[in-house]
Each structure stands twice: as C-alpha cells, then as structure tokens.
C-alpha cells in the first residue's frame, strides 16, 4: 500500500550525498540549489501521494508499518528500519517537506554567493532526511536516529559560519543541550522497553505495538518516570525550560536554518514525540501536569525576554520558544490534536516570519556592506521604515505577525485559542487550569506586544541607518519573495482546517477537520482520558468559552496597542521605562541571566571538577599511588643498598645474625 514511502527520506539523502560529495566540484549554485530543492520537492510529491492515499482509506485503516530492512536484532531486542504511516506522521511529513521545500527555494536566493554553498544544501538535505526519519520512524530507536540526526544537522548548520567563535559555541551548546535531552529520551526508552518486556513480556520498541499494549501499563508510577524521561528529551529538542537556552543562540546560523530547523520543524519534534506516544503520557497525570506547567511557564517566560531583545532574530527565537511552550501546554492538557494543530500553524507563520526577517537582514546586510558599515544588520535599532523599501516582505511579515498575535481569522487564532481553551477546560489539572490559562493569556498578550514591537521597529518610523546605505535597501529577489508569499498565505488560511467547534457551530457546523483527521491516532487516549480523568470531564458553558476567547483576543489587542503606543506614537517611552527600571530591563535584556546561571551551576563546576580530577586526582592520587609505590620500593632499594656497606664484618655480621635468628626461631619456638 505505502510501499514507496521509503522514497520520502531517500530523496534528501541522495541530495545530501550528491551535494556533499560532489558539491565542491559542481560549483554552480543553481545546480546545487536545484538538486537540493528538487530532492525535497520529490519527497514532497511522494508525501502528497501518501497523504492522499491515506485519506482515501477509512479512518480505522489509516495505519501502516512499512519495513525496509532489519537494522539490528539481538535476543529479544529487534529494531527495524521501518516507517509508520498514520495521520500524525503524514501531517508531519507534509509540513516538513512542504515548508522545507519553500525554505530550500528561499535559500537559493538567500545563500547566494556564500562560501560553502554546497555544504549548506548538503546539510539542509541531511536535515530533511533526519527529520523525515524522525517523523516516519515506526520505532523508538529509529525515531531516536532522526532525533539525534536533526540535532547533528542543527549543530552543523548553526556552526555554518564556523570561523565565528560564537557560531561554534552556539552549535556546541545546541548539541550538548540536545544531548541532555537525548539522555532523557534514552533512559525513557530503556525503562519503557524493560518495563514492558519484563512485566508483560512485550519486548518491543515499535510504536504500534507499544500502543496496542499500553493498556497493560499502570497509571502513574513507572509510567511517570518513563514519560518524564521522554519529556526531558522533548525539553532539550524543543527548547523548553530548563533546556531552552540554546535556541536563541542558535540564531547564529543562517536565517533559512532558523526558519526551517529552529522554528518550523526540528524544535517541534518534542511535541510530535509526545503526540506519538500519547498513549503513554495520558497514563501519567503527574507528567501531564509537569508538561503543562513547564509549557505555560516557558510560554510566559520566553515572551518576557522577547520583549526586550533588539536582535530581530532573537526576538523571533524567543517567540518560538514561547510558542513551543503553548504546544506543550496543549500536550500537557491532553489536547494532543490542538498541540499538533498549533505546531502546523506555527510552522507556517513562524517560517514566514523568519524568512521575512531573513529578507530584511539580507537587504540590510547588503546595504551596510555597500557603505562599509560594520553596524549589526540584525539589530532592529538600525532598521525602521522598511515598509516602503520592501513592501512585499512587509506585507507577508505583517500577515504572519497578525497570525501569531492571535487575531481572529488568522491561523494562529484558531490554534492558540483552542489551546487556551483546552488548558482551561481539560480534566487533568483541576484548579491549576485557571493559572495555566492565565499564563497562556498573558503570554499571548506579550506575544502580540513584542511581535508588533518588532514590526513597528523594523518597518515603521524613520530609517535609522545612514541615508547613503538607505539607498541600497531594496526588495529581495523573487526566489526569496515567493516562498514568503506562499507561507503568508498559509498563515492566513492554514487555520481553517481546524476551526474550533464553537466557531464551527457558529458558521453552520463546519467540523474541525484537523481534529477529526487525527482522531485515529489519539482516540484511545481520549477514551482513556474520559474514563480516568482526575477531576472528571467538566462541562463548561458556551458563554464561558466565548468569554475566554474574547478575553484572549482583547489581551492580544492590548498588547498590540501598547506596542503601537510605545514604538510608533511615542518612541521615547521605552527609553524612559528602561531608565526607570534599569535592573528589570537589564535582567530581561540579559535573558534573566539564565545562561550565566547555567555556567555557574553546571558548566564551570564541571570544568573545575574535570580539572580537579585530572590534576588533582588522576595525577596526584592515582598516579601518585602508582608512582609512590614505585618510589617507596626504590627508596627501600636505596636503604638496603646502603646496608651493603662494603665492609666484610658487616657482611659476616649479617650472616651470623641470620644463623642466630634461624636457630633461635627453631629452637625456641
């Protein structure tokens, strides 16, 4: 049925191999970029066919495991290279290949003239391959392969400008933090495998099998441990508290990378993973609560930092962290479909935003370069008034911003509102729900604020670079603009496939297609939830729902209003504000000093410990003991040596002494 699904990851792999091995010889950028983009296009095509095929099946049959070959078997452990086709993975491959393809196209323009152009496309294709493995893998191990693979590509792409120290550092940080997550992932996988096998004799790591046997699992207890481990993995990959700090730094990479990896696809892998293993997470209310709380906290926390950043990409980065927080809030509330939905819409608008910012930076960089200025092309304080210079970019950017701000009618509204509602109404966390909702709503307001702050600072007002440079600012080439337009369009309309029930009812019973589509994946969990909900399924009135929706929209509008007031109407206020609360501003501007905290708590002690173990323990104690024994022996040698005095009477004395002792011992013993 889905026999050719293995082609989906294969194409990017081929693209990677061709570009990676021969790219240096090819030299021609069009060809290289073409190969890269075409590979993804092929994948996209196959993905489309796959999803169409899937949709043609009745709901219950929308599931297929396609085995390619046996990877490793050992005793009761078996891992295949096999792919899982179900609605969830299909939506993911669509997002990945679709958005990925657009970004590839964009990159051809954006990366024009860069040294190592081929390298970039090779990595990008490798990333596509890994990401597709991640979403398609039908077992934990294969997912882990993709999981680590995307981490690697992220590392490579962040460190693309490897001659910059900051880039290298950022790449390493990303990888290591991801590794911390992977540590959790591995532990979770081990525990799950062992627990299922040992107790229920289900030795498997295959998702379908695990799902089938999930009913054997108890609620809480070990499952909580397992799921927390997995969630640790997710926090690393998806930049949640406490492992979020790598993502803003990851902006050292080229902008398309930020768009593709650090906004649209890779960072959502954690969300996907939780969705994939919903059967597990649903069985641990504690974990769900942890997820929800962390999601909400991250959403809020990252949003606060986002308000004070001046680097255009960093704002977006914190925004991504914050939006990922929303997704986790959804997952933690048991609203898996909502989380995935937000994942999708976020992929559209955030990709659009990043690409748009890339276009701006590209243009700025170009302009600054022309006048030999060393001003930062990414600093919003250097921008302003770009809307006239780059109208298309501005338009698409604005649409995406509106979408993310949650203005009704745009995709972000539908998904975000669904999440907030689920956070409020879910049956898991009891009174905590109100707090979660509140945090989400505040974060939504902050999101609106900082996003519009960004728009206003960048596109409105006076241009703050030298007039000479200003003349060199112009709209990007079509190869860059077209993806922007497509993504902006998706940001606007993408939400309509998942209209919340409330609104759907309002407009004549339009069903929530998306939720319906994902139902086969989450049905069992939802049934389970219905049975086991900790606080019973609360029935809230429609009015309440409306009220909440309205509130969140109002909060968003307030945010926009404040941004407008501060950055368009009276631009001096922010400075005054900063002057009034310097400590607060400094704290927010410096990301609440979390990086420094980590340095003090983890990194430096580790290094110090390492240094101590090396110089103190290894050299002094261990080697000291070894060499000490040798030295003691040697010095004994010295002592005994000097007993060999050279005098005959000493020698005869020693002999006589020997005789006396021997005789004495035997005679008087």
């Amino acid at each position: 049925m889905f026999d050719n699904v293995w082609l989906i990851p294969l194409f990017p792999l081929l693209g990677f191999l061709i570009n990676g091995l021969l790219g240096k010889k090819i030299k021609n950028e069009t060809v290289i970029g073409g190969i890269g983009a075409f590979a993804v296009l092929c994948s996209f095509a196959v993905s489309c066919m796959t999803i169409l095929k899937l949709l043609s099946l009745p709901g219950e049959e929308r599931l297929a495991n396609v085995k390619v070959f046996t990877w490793m078997t050992c005793g009761n452990f078996n891992a295949d290279i096999a792919f899982l086709i179900d609605p969830l993975s299909c939506v993911m491959i669509m997002i990945v290949t679709g958005v990925g393809f657009l970004i590839h196209i964009y990159s051809i323009g954006y990366m024009h003239g860069e040294e190592g152009f081929y390298r970039f496309f090779a990595y990008l294709n490798l990333f596509m391959f890994s990401m597709l493995l991640l979403v398609l893998g039908n077992n934990l191990l294969l997912m882990f392969v993709g999981w680590e693979g995307v981490g690697l590509c992220s590392y490579l792409l962040i460190g693309y400008y490897f001659h910059k120290k900051s880039a290298g550092d950022a790449g390493k940080k990303a990888f290591v933090m991801n590794r911390v997550g992977d540590f959790g992932f591995l532990l979770g996988a081990f525990t799950l495998y062992w627990f299922m096998g040992h107790n229920f004799n289900v030795w498997t790591i295959q998702f379908t099998e695990l799902g089938k046997n999930a009913h054997l699992l108890p609620t809480g207890g070990v499952v909580t441990v397992i799921t927390l481990c997995f969630f640790l993995g997710a926090t690393g990959k998806s930049a949640q508290i406490p492992l979020y700090t790598w993502l803003p730094d990851a902006m050292e990479g080229p902008t398309p990378v930020s768009a593709l990896i650090h906004a649209a696809t890779m960072v959502t892998a954690g969300v996907y993973m939780i969705g994939r293993m919903n059967f597990l997470f649903i069985r641990s209310p504690e974990t769900l609560m942890v997820i929800a709380v962390i999601g909400a906290c991250t959403a809020l926390f990252a949003a606060t930092i986002g308000t004070a950043q001046n680097d255009i990409k960093r704002v977006l980065a914190y925004s991504t962290v914050s939006q990922l927080g929303y997704m986790f809030l959804a997952m933690g509330s048991g609203a898996f479909a909502a989380g995935i939905f937000h994942l999708m819409t976020h992929a559209f608008f955030k990709a659009c935003l990043f690409l748009g910012s890339g276009a701006v930076i590209h243009s700025m960089h170009h302009a600054l370069h022309h006048v030999h200025s060393h001003d930062d092309a990414q600093d919003m304080r250097n921008m302003g008034g770009l809307k006239s210079k780059m109208p298309l970019t501005f338009l698409t950017f604005l649409l995406a911003t509106i979408a993310i701000a949650g203005i009704p009618g745009f995709s972000g509204f539908f998904s975000k509102d669904e999440i907030l509602w689920q956070a409020f109404a879910n049956p898991h966390h009891g009174q905590l729900n109100y707090l979660l909702w509140g945090m989400g709503a505040v974060a939504a307001g902050l999101t609106a604020f900082y996003m519009f702050r960004l728009v206003f600072m960048t596109f409105f007002g006076e241009c703050r670079i030298t007039p000479k440079a200003k003349d060199h600012l112009h709209e990007s080439p079509m190869v860059i603009v077209i993806p922007l337009i497509v993504l902006a369009g998706l940001s606007v309309v993408g939400g309509y496939i998942g209209i919340p029930k409330l609104l759907g009812d309002l407009f004549g019973g339009i069903p929530n297609y998306f939720e319906h589509y994902l139902e086969p994946v989450f049905r069992l969990s939802e049934e389970y939830m219905a049975e086991h909900a900790a606080h019973g399924v609360a029935h809230h009135s429609v009015a309440l729902e409306w009220g909440l929706m309205g509130t969140s929209v109002v909060i968003a509008l307030i945010g926009i209003g404040i941004a407008f007031a501060l950055y368009v109407v009276n631009t001096s206020i922010p400075a005054k504000f900063t002057a009034t609360f310097p400590a607060l501003h400094r704290a927010v501007y410096n990301k609440w000093y979390i990086d420094e905290l980590y340095d003090y708590v983890f990194v430096n002690p580790c290094k110090a410990l390492g240094r101590f173990l090396w110089k103190g323990f290894d050299v002094v104690v261990v080697d000291g003991v070894v060499n000490g024994v040798a030295k003691v022996v040697m010095s004994f040698g010295g002592i005994i040596r000097y007993m060999q005095s050279g005098f005959v009477y000493d020698y005869s004395w020693s002999m006589a002494f020997g005789v006396v002792v021997i005789l004495g011992y035997y005679l008087f013993k």
Partner: protein, 544 residues
C-alpha cells in the same frame, strides 16, 4: 585449509624474516614489504571470516601437543568463535592502516619499527585465537615487548616513562593472572583434567571461594589492560607518547585484550564470582565513564583527550559485558569493534595534524576547517562516531550496551552511565570546535595542507566501516550471536547452581567436572551427586 589460523597468525613472523634481509637504508622497500605483509595477512584472514559458520563452536581448530612435563600439558590449541572472530579480523584490518599511518612519520630506524609492528601483530592474533590458557598467556605477554619498544623508541618526549609505566603496569597485572592460571590448572587436574585447554576449564565447577580469588586475579590483570578506573593512568601516558601507529594499535586492539579477557576467561570460568563482583565492576565502569569524560574535557593535548575518551568507551564495554545478557554482551563486543575503528581513526587524525604541526596542544589550533576541508569532514565523522551518533557504529554499540545493562541488575549504574553520552558530546565537540572552528589566526596553521591521497586512503576504510557498522550491524551481530548465547549459558547455569546450597552440589573442596551445561541442564537442577556427575573430561574436539 585446516591451518588457516596459524597461517594468519604467523604470516607476520615470515614478514619479519623477510625484513631481516632487507638493508636498513632502503626505507621504502621496508615499508612496502611490511605493508604488503599486513595486507596479505588481512587477505589470509578473510577466508576465516567467510568460512565461519554461524554456530557457537570453536572453528578452525588446531590442536597439537606442545609442552608436556611434570604435572603440566600445554597444547598448541587454537580456534575461533564468534567472539574472537571479529577481533581477529579487526586486528588484521587495522594493521595495514597502522603501517600506512606512519609511512612518513617514522623516518628513523624504520626496519626495527616495522619488525616491531609485525611481531606485535602476531602477538595480538595469537592471544585472540588461543584456546589453551598457557598459550594465551604467552601471547599476552609477548605483545608487551614490541609495544614497549614502539612506545619507547619511536615515542615522544616522555617516552621512556610512558613505556616503562606501560610495561610494568601490565606486567604487574599479568603475573597475578599467571598465579591464578596455575592455581586454576591444579584445580583442574584435581578434577581429572590433563591440559590447559580452555574448553575443559569451562566445564570445571569451582567452589565460590576459589572463584572469588581467581576471578580477582584475572579481573585485576584484565582491568589494567582495559583499562578500568583507577588502573588507567598508564594509558594517557602511553597513548600520548606512542607514535601514531602505536596509539592506533594500542587503542584499537591492545585494549581489547582486556575486555576480551573478561569475555573469554574471567566471566565464563568464574561465573559465580563474576556475578558477585558485578556491582564492583559496574561501579568502576561507571566511574570510569564519567571520570574519564570529565578529565578528557579539560585536557589540553588532543591525544590525551582521545586517550581518556578511550577509558570512557571501555567503561561502556565493561558495563555491557557485566550485564550478562545478550544485548549487553553483544553491545560490549560491538563497542569493542567500534572503539577499535573510531578511536583508531581518531588517533590517526591526531597523527595527521601532529605530523604537520608537531604539536598536539588544542590551543595551537583553531579554524583548521577552512584550510583543510577534507580533513574537517573526516574528523567530524569520526568525532560523531566517537560520541555515538545514530547512524554511526558508535551508537549501535553504546545503545545495546546501555539497553542490555538496563535490563540487567545493574540498572542504576546504567542511568548514570547514560549521562556519559552527554559528557562525551561535550568533550569531543568542544575539542573539535577549538581545533577546527574559529578564526584561522595562527600563522603556522595558515599554510597547512589538506590530507594527501595516502591519508585519505587510510581513512576511507575506517569511515566506510563507521557507517556500515552503524547502519547495518546485523551481519556482525549474527556471527557473534551463537557464541554470546553460549557464553551467557555458561555464566548462567553456574549462577543457578550457586544459589543452591553449595554442599549439595559440591562436596567441600572437591571441584568436579560437571556435564556440559547445554547437554544436561536438568541434571544440575536435580543436584546430581558429585560422583555421578563426573564423566570423563569432555573434549568435543577429540571426538571430532
């Protein structure tokens, strides 16, 4: 060909004889001859691989009397099973690479150098194929000599200290093993055995107290070789000082002697004790993993860093072996091969830059990627393999080890050990970043040449293996599986009996030869009295 193994093992000796007749000034001839000899040895070992049947028996067995005097009878008894097969192949595979690696680096005393390498190869192969404990010990010790010279003569600044440390350390361990070996033999003769054949000793059931002591002696000796914390300090010195080929061989093969010793001797011979000391070994392994990683992190010398990473990797191997289950031991075995390939490759890489810059200090480098893209790529792949990225060989081994260990009793150790994957990423990537990334600001580095054809040629097979073993490890696993299952059976059956009251199974102080476990598992369950359970010593090979 029945004496294929002997041929493979002693081909290098033939090579030595050839080298003796080549004048010492014709260096390229010396190098070429050595290279050809090692390649031929590799080719000679391929039929072994191809002809190997996937079962648990020892194959290509040769068994002829050797020494017989007094209470002893030693035999030239060799053969391989799935466990040793891959190590033999690894050895023959690494050797040509090692020879090539110092093609230009060793300019002095080439003849002696090549002779040492070839002698070393014979020693290593011999140790892997010996089925006679005495023969094994001989080869085990013989290996030391050429390695000692390789480190001591062609090594770096501090070579003498390193060489002597290496030698005395290892020697101190192995002599204790010798005592244990002899003691074991007498235990065996008391039970009616007549020679040192390993297969007979497998069937020997020792009382737990004896096992404890013997195990400790064997384990100590092997632990030094592995090396396990805290007996590892010879390794960084030896590695740092050794010439590239020396480091490669040391890392790729010699260290495997220790772990191989555990698999082949310490665990199946003394299963009860092995189980009893599992917590200790696991603790040391875990400490080794974390400790070595932390220490590696702050190293200033690339080679030393890699050396410490070896300690950490072998900690994983040990952890896997002492999981006593299929995944763990398979993982451990795979990890041995992986470590051989990737750490060997890392040492080669360090050798490449050392040859160019004559320094190994991390701070002397930076930004090499720009100047040496091919090198950068290869280095990156090897680094990733070393930190166990999925898709590379390192992952398969590490994963299996952790999985196996997690399934066994040493679960909690595994949890800590797993954090080693974080640390390994930290120190390797940090090193990689400092060496390869950043500004190319050191003028000495700005004229570096990228790898030449020879160097790429050396690395390619290793890179290929990294991926092959990472993507399709099944052929490797399949060949070793039966042997590992047998090993597990050997360790398990005894621990079952160990749970029974000892005096029921064994009359005090009278170890007996029990029936081979797989033949008569039921008998043991029923506590057959010792007298009845003493058929003549089973020797499957005499029967053939």
């Amino acid at each position: 060909m029945s004496n294929l193994l002997s041929l493979t093992t002693f081909l290098p000796i033939l090579g030595v004889l050839m080298l003796l007749f080549i004048p010492k000034d014709s260096k390229s001839v010396l190098r070429s001859v050595t290279f050809v000899v090692t390649v031929v040895t590799f080719i000679a070992s391929l039929p072994v691989l191809i002809g190997f049947q996937n079962n648990a028996d020892f194959q290509f067995v040769e068994n002829v009397p050797w020494i017989a005097a007094g209470p002893f009878a030693m035999r030239y008894n060799i053969g391989i099973d799935g466990i040793s097969l891959w190590l033999v192949i690894l050895t023959t595979f690494i050797m040509p690479i090692a020879v090539l690696s110092t093609w230009t680096a060793v300019e002095e005393k080439v003849k002696e150098y090549m002779i040492c390498l070839l002698l070393l190869e014979t020693g290593m192969l011999g140790a892997f194929i010996s089925l006679d404990l005495f023969l094994f010990y001989i080869f085990w010790e013989v290996m030391l000599i050429p390695m000692y010279f390789i480190i001591g003569i062609w090594g770096g600044k501090n070579k003498i200290y390193a060489a002597i440390k290496f030698f005395v350390y290892t020697m101190a361990g192995s002599v204790l093993m010798l005592v244990a070996l002899i003691f074991l033999y007498f235990k065996g003769t008391a039970a009616g055995m007549t020679d040192f054949s390993l297969l007979h000793f497998y069937d020997l059931r020792l009382d737990p107290a004896t096992q404890t002591w013997l195990f400790l002696a064997f384990a100590f000796s092997f632990a030094i070789k592995v090396p396990m914390f805290p007996l590892h300090t010879w390794l960084p010195d030896a590695h740092t000082e050794a010439p590239t080929a020396g480091s490669v061989i040391l890392a790729a093969i010699l260290l495997k002697m220790g772990t191989y010793g555990y698999v082949r001797f310490a665990m199946p011979l003394f299963p009860d004790a092995a189980h009893r000391f599992t917590p200790l070994i696991a603790t040391l392994a875990v400490i080794g993993i974390i400790y070595a990683a932390l220490v590696a992190m702050v190293q200033e010398d690339v080679k030393k860093l890699v050396a410490y990473s070896s300690v950490a990797h072998l900690g994983f191997v040990m952890l896997g072996l002492f999981a006593f289950n299929e995944q763990g031991i398979t993982g451990g075995m795979l990890q041995m091969l992986n470590h051989g390939v990737s750490t060997g490759a890392l040492f080669l890489i360090v050798g490449f830059i050392y040859e160019r810059r004559h320094t190994r200090l991390i701070t002397d480098f930076g930004g090499l990627s720009k100047q040496m893209p091919i090198f950068a790529t290869i280095f990156m792949i090897v680094t990733l393999s070393s930190i166990g990225l999925p898709g590379t060989n390192g992952f398969v081994g590490e994963f299996m080890v952790l999985l196996g260990a997690f399934e066994s009793e040493i679960r909690w150790y595994t949890v800590i050990a797993t954090s080693g994957v974080i640390l390994s990423a930290v120190y390797m990537l940090w090193m990689f970043q400092r060496v390869m990334f950043g500004e190319l600001d050191n003028p000495k580095n700005q004229k570096l040449l990228d790898l030449n054809a020879r160097e790429i040629g050396i690395m390619l097979p290793l890179i290929a293996l990294i991926f092959i073993m990472g993507v399709y490890p099944n052929p490797f696993i399949e060949k070793m599986q039966p042997a590992i299952n047998k090993l597990i059976a050997q360790t398990k059956t005894s621990s079952v009996t160990a749970q029974l009251p000892v005096d029921q199974v064994l009359p005090a102080g009278h170890p007996v030869v029990a029936p081979a476990p797989e033949q008569n598992p039921a008998a043991e369950q029923q506590n057959v009295p010792a007298e009845e359970a003493t058929p003549a010593v089973i020797n499957p090979h005499d029967a053939k």
